[in-house]
């Protein structure tokens, strides 16, 4: 039901049941918040959304107050403005003054608020809490000194990812957001998805940065630094810089990385094609009862999801695909196939992947992804870090001439780009399976709803086979769905694509910091644009890939092929 309320001497139309904050914002009235997140329950923790309501003695937090008929609200009275300013000043009283040295300088919500509220000097002097930063994780750095206790990270970790690696510890002015027993994130149940970094308003949660490492390697003459950029990172790059497909974002990234000193820039999509072929192959062999594995087959390319399964759902591990993730396929290929074919000592190759993912840093450090103690992938840059690298080198992106990615890993199919958003990889695998079982390419149909929510299953039929494909994103959705499937003993779903981040890699933890889902949808759309430009529909049609697989050297050594493509998970 709709009714009117009076706000700042004007009438606005609101929906019954909405919070006052939602109603005000949807009418274009600006209300500052720190703790509020769309789709999450209100906590009223930061109190910045306070407004004056006639008849109420105290200021009320609009995020946790429902709209009422006949309400008279003032959002910009002297009292409200002063209260908000004081709140920010109090937050700043226990916050370090090191904005110049902060990774979030310029994109910090606390900094913005301080500017908006016209805070010009420190008003509250007193003892600050002493906190110890935590750099123990391979992916995520924590600095509790910069935490404003808004609880966004706590809520996303618990409610969306079901992990609860961090929570409020102690109380009152001693409260911190910390892992159990105040130990490091590395020994917690953290799955490294980086969603907490995405929602953090300040720099309390950031990447474990690899930028310095990469710069150091770029500065060494003896090192050949090779970059692999994933299609999802490309889409993110293009969206961030408002580029169109005709601007050739891939060509520009290649050119920019070369300017930074990269020896080679490859297309990580090449390895995604391989990964998709391998997963499709696994599915077909289960179908033909060649392997002992049972349906459903769960995708294993998302390292945060794999970590979750190892930590919380060990009984599901046998269902996980054994294909290596694209990053690790590429890492192995570069340090063996590429090193051999180009005559470079693999010790002199420094391999860097660029992805919108924090968990890939963790994946690269896993023991099974090292060879004689040396990582297959030396460094992983999130999209945020890629921009940082470009800023360091002072590149004027708009002036760069597009260049082509380097051979031999220079092409990828539509399938590789599809893997960049939820539902896409399921389609790519389905298409490959369809072809493997003798279906005609032009007969292939696979429907994905256009928005991020919606139906998550579809069926395809090939000859006598009816195969079910499903896709889930966010751990909660994945856990609920798979548990439901097993409980109901359904056997109509054969493949489940699992992505730990909402919306898949398009909403990844390593994406540029943004609020809400708009950017995630824009990145998905960009991926789809890129697909339209690509003539290669099937992963197994990729000419670069075919020429590699055709070379006699590769085929004669089955052990090597399996070393490239297979991995194992921890059987706890």
């Amino acid at each position: 039901m709709e009714f009117k309320i009076e706000v700042n001497d004007k009438f606005i139309t609101v929906n019954e049941g909405d919070s006052l904050l939602t109603a005000l914002r949807s009418n274009g009235i600006k209300i500052p918040t720190l703790c509020h997140m769309n789709r999450f329950s209100a906590t009223g923790a930061c109190r910045l959304c306070v407004v004056e309501v006639e008849g109420k003695r105290d200021l009320i937090t609009s995020c946790s107050y429902p709209v009422e008929e006949g309400m008279k609200v003032t959002t910009n009275s002297q009292r409200v403005i002063q209260a908000r300013k004081t709140l920010v000043e109090l937050l700043l009283s226990n916050h370090p003054d090191d904005c110049l040295y902060c990774t979030r300088n310029g994109i910090c919500e606390l900094q913005w608020l301080a500017a908006e509220m016209n805070v010009k000097e420190r008003k509250f002097f007193g003892e600050k809490n002493i906190h110890h930063p935590d750099y123990s994780s391979t992916s995520i750095a924590r600095d509790p000194a910069k935490c404003v206790l808004c609880s966004r990270c706590v809520r996303i970790c618990e409610e969306v990812q079901l992990v609860t690696a961090i929570d409020f510890i102690s109380r009152g002015n001693q409260t911190t957001v910390n892992s159990a027993f105040n130990k490091g994130l590395n020994v917690s149940s953290c799955i490294n998805c980086g969603q907490c970094v995405q929602v953090c308003p300040t720099a309390a949660l950031t990447d474990i940065s690899h930028v310095e490492k990469v710069q150091a390697a770029l500065g060494k003459d003896s090192k050949k630094v090779v970059f692999q950029v994933s299609p999802s990172a490309l889409a993110s790059f293009a969206v961030y810089l408002n580029m169109k497909i005709k601007d050739d974002p891939q060509g520009i990234i290649v050119s920019a990385l070369k300017k930074c000193g990269a020896a080679k820039v490859f297309d990580l999509g090449f390895a995604i094609d391989l990964n998709i072929m391998e997963e499709a192959q696994t599915l077909v062999s289960i179908l033909k009862e060649k392997s002992g594995q049972k349906f459903p087959l769960l995708s294993s390319c998302c390292p945060a999801w794999v970590r979750y399964a190892e930590e919380f759902r060990t009984e599901w591990l046998p269902m996980l695909a054994t294909a290596k993730s694209a990053q690790q396929i590429m890492g192995t290929l570069i340090k063996s196939h590429y090193a051999e074919s180009s005559g470079i000592n693999s010790e002199n190759i420094y391999s860097v992947t660029v992805l919108p993912c924090t968990a890939k840093k963790f994946e690269a450090s896993r023991e099974e992804n090292t060879h004689k103690g040396i990582s297959e992938t030396d460094a992983v840059l999130t999209v945020r870090e890629l921009f940082q690298l470009f800023r360091c080198y002072g590149l004027d992106i708009g002036q760069l001439q597009a260049e082509k990615p380097d051979q031999p890993y220079n092409r990828s199919s539509v399938a590789a780009t599809e893997a960049g958003y939820s539902g896409g990889k399921a389609e790519a695998v389905a298409r490959e399976v369809f072809r493997m079982l003798g279906g005609k390419p032009e007969d292939f149909r696979f429907t994905i709803p256009k928005n991020l929510a919606g139906k998550k299953e579809t069926k395809i039929s090939i000859g006598d086979h009816q195969l079910g494909f499903a896709w889930v994103s966010s751990i909660k959705e994945a856990d609920d769905y798979i548990a439901m499937l097993l409980e109901e003993e359904r056997d109509d779903i054969h493949y489940i694509e699992v992505m730990a981040c909402l919306g898949g890699c398009a909403g990844g933890g390593g994406q540029p910091i943004s609020r809400g889902f708009e950017k995630s949808i824009a990145r998905k759309k960009m991926c789809m644009e890129m697909e339209k430009q690509n003539q290669l529909t099937f992963a197994s049609e990729n000419p670069a890939l075919l020429s590699m697989l055709k070379s006699k050297k590769v085929f004669s050594d089955q052990e090597k092929v399996s070393d490239w493509l297979k991995t194992s998970v921890k059987k706890a």
């Binding site: 618990e158 690696a165 510890i169 102690s170 159990a180 027993f181 917690s188």
Partner: protein, 157 residues
């Protein structure tokens, strides 16, 4: 230890979320404090993240995370005791026992915990030694009390 926990778990057969605090209290009553292992065991039993349990437990002053001595001393530092000289008593206790608030001495004899009002303001300042109140203390009578405990312990050896 696992067996000892089993006995406590049996009292909470429904494994409900709201059993968490009573369960933790029962464990602390039995073991004197909550160790990492017990918190993990409670997490497994109730199917709640250990981080959540640790978060709740650290919220309440009454939960301890380190072992207590044979004589656990709780020093009241409520308003009345503060006015009556609790700070002086604390200083003296720390000097006598060579431990600070929240610590336990090396041989496990004494541990010290400074608490808010324990509800005997008329008898301030006071300390509680293993749930027995020792009231209207001054530094001299406090030393006497500690000495008498030490003597008793030495005699026992």
């Amino acid at each position: 230890m696992a067996n000892r926990l089993e006995g406590i778990f049996e009292q909470f057969p429904n494994r409900r979320r709201e059993d968490m605090i009573p369960l933790l209290q029962a464990i602390q009553d039995q073991q004197g404090y909550l160790s990492e292992e017990t918190i993990k065991a409670v997490g497994d039993y109730l199917d709640i993240s250990i981080n959540k349990i640790y978060g709740v437990a650290t919220f309440y002053d009454n939960f301890r995370f380190g072992p207590v001595g044979k004589y656990h001393i709780r020093l009241c530092h409520g308003t009345a005791c503060h006015v009556a000289g609790a700070a002086k008593l604390q200083k003296e206790l720390q000097r006598l026992l060579k431990i600070k608030d929240g610590e336990c001495d090396k041989n496990g004899l004494f541990s010290l915990e400074v608490v808010s009002c324990i509800g005997a303001c008329g008898l301030a300042p006071l300390i509680e030694v293993n749930e027995a109140y020792h009231t209207s203390l001054n530094t001299a009578s406090l030393k006497q009390l500690i000495d008498s405990i030490r003597e008793k312990e030495n005699a026992a050896i």
